[in-house]
Amino acid sequence: MRLLSRRFYSRTLRTAFQALRRNIMRSTLTTLGIIIGVAAVIAMMEIGNGSARTIEKSIATMGADNLTVASGAAASGGVTFGGGSADTLTPEDAEAILAECPAVRAVAPLVRTRTQVVYGNRNWVPLFIFGSTPDYLDVRRWSVAQGDPFTDQDVRNAAKVCLLGQTIVRELFQGLSPVGEEIRVKNVSFKVVGVLSAKGSNMMGMDQDDIILMPWTTIKRRISRSALRETNQSQAAAGDTAQRVNSLNDLYPGQGSLYPLPSANQLANNPLPVRFINIDQILVAAQSAEKVPQAIRQIAELLRQRHRIGPDELDDFNIRDMTEITRAMTATTHLMTRLLLCVALISLVVGGVGIMNIMLVSVTERTREIGLRMAVGARARDILRRFLVEAVVLCLLGGAIGILTGRGSSMLLRNVMKWPTELSVGAIVAAVAVSVTVGVIFGYYPAWKASRLDPIDALRYE
């Protein structure tokens, strides 16, 4: 019962404090070990967390949080035409994804084409001619280096405006500022409203700066549907080949239509269903790289519903994430975590050894005191408890000061040296828990040793 009384505890604690105060220097040194241990762990974890988050962010700009939704494969007579050949994705799908999937941060519909662009006496065939919305820049985390991006208004009006990649600027304008100039695509004039910042090549080695970006409606309505087909021969084959009007196609004879053109009568007899405006891809950015799988689930569910796909039927779309980048990111994060863990463990071990050392020294130093206490009636148990309580008190004190020191130094680093740090509650809890445990374990051994002492030997100890 005595063990449970509050007075007993307060007295034990007070005795411990008295003993610790009696040797301020030794207590301070012991606590210092714990303070350094705890503070080091907390500061390291906060700095590490901040760095990891920064690294994650920069990897995310490579597109780790990006998803591509492409339409599925069209098939005709047992012949499939590859991914993206079915015309099933609509701009409304893109809007619905943004509105209804909580794990999605931004969405941009994507329409592609490939054709020649002309400025003055120079021409170039860009690797990518993308039609999208201003959100595309947000999804890809791409900034405009010069001028302004086009607007939603431009998208609604199918305005003849475009953004150029750095490579286009170099090839067509030879480094002069293109903003405000006009380029021609398929005999349609486009006003250059801005220049994209340099992005370099993607992981496939393709030059991402070799790009013209314009409102997707413009591509759809002004550069013509047929041009769209050029990007995908199989899709072109699946579509109405008759509509292909491109002088480039005439370069190679024998590429003409295999089938006779349908007559007006035939067309009237077989009316084509009303065509929805379809888009090639939907580019999606998840809230964060970790939420990518969640976003994939939500999008798949939504699109199956929107496309009225029965439970037994296969998807008519494909969702792809940036597996490669994600893998790199996970690897980096794991590496960082492991590195931090190592640092933390080493700090804790160093702190723990410090505690143990001081505790052992303290016991040796106080051998006579122990002998005396035993002579006047302290039991082994009393001695053990005394040293244990002292160890625990020291550890808790050290832990508390350590938290403050660690937090303080990480805040100082953030504010003075502008290092990215991030509060880590887990680190605080772990550091304190572990160092107190270490303190108690390492405090226990000397305490146990002290309680084993023979009072006669202890009294005679010099």
């Binding site: 005795t15 008295q18 005396l372 002579a375 006047v376 039991r379 009393d382 006669i456």
Partner: protein
């Protein structure tokens, strides 16, 4: 104390230090235990103080046989019934005289309330003439004063037996005299049994009875208790009745 043997084992060799010591100390006696160094007097004192157990033989303290008690029980016994005064004082450093005197009250089977412990400690320090030095640390006290603090500490749990191991060994003759007079006073006024361990005949002369130890045996007992009572029961050291009224 009957036929007490104490053998230390050093390596393969058994080294008998006490070779059958029998003696009896009555309540209220003041006994000097004398002997040259190595004669076994310190070992005997450790056994008397329940710090150590004899290898063989039996020892009664106030009618209670000590030989078979466990370490914790002996600790309680030391706490309650025995006060120690050491040659080198053994005070806690960096601790006030008052705290030093209070220290034994922290242990023991039932705790003495804080206030009572403090009152006792104050009273005892007044008594040994250190009423104005209660807050001084041992390093601020002279040898004699330190030893007086140690005596006050030995008395704080109101023991019936005071064991003093060379209490004057580290003191000059004048202070020694004071300390010894204090022992005599305690013995006469409070009836506390005092056992003085010393090799100094001058110190021993303050006691009414001197026991000489030599080579682990009682060589000479100047006044061996009350002879009439020895043969009856087991020759018990100390008083036979446990709870007699103390003044």
């Amino acid at each position: 104390m009957q036929d007490v043997w104490k053998t230390y084992r050093i390596g393969e060799l058994d080294l008998p230090v006490l070779r059958g010591v029998s003696l009896r100390v009555e309540r209220g006696e003041m006994v000097a235990l004398m002997g040259a160094s190595g004669s076994g007097k310190t070992t005997l004192m450790n056994i008397l103080g329940c710090l150590d157990r004899p290898s063989s033989g039996r020892y009664w303290l106030e009618g209670q046989e000590i030989t078979r008690l466990a370490a914790d029980e002996r600790a309680f016994l030391r706490n309650r019934k025995i006060g120690f005064v050491f040659q080198n004082f053994n005070l806690l450093p960096r601790t006030s005289a008052l705290e030093n005197v209070r220290m034994p009250t922290l242990y023991g089977p039932e705790r003495i309330p804080d206030r009572e412990a403090e009152e006792r400690a104050r009273a005892l320090l007044e008594r040994v003439g250190l009423g104005d030095r209660m807050d001084h640390e041992p390093s601020q006290l002279s040898g004699g004063q330190q030893q007086r603090v140690a005596i006050a500490r030995a008395l704080v749990n109101r023991p019936s037996l005071l064991l003093a191991d060379e209490p004057t060994g580290n003191l000059d003759s004048h202070t020694s005299e004071e300390i010894l007079r204090m022992f005599q006073q305690l013995n006469e006024e409070e009836g506390i049994t005092i056992v003085l361990v010393t090799h100094d005949a001058g110190v021993a002369s303050h006691a009414r009875r001197t026991i000489r130890i030599r080579d682990g045996l009682v060589e000479d007992d100047s006044n061996p208790g009350e002879p009439g009572r020895t043969p009856a029961g087991p020759p018990s050291m100390t008083r036979s009745a446990p709870a007699e009224a103390r003044p």
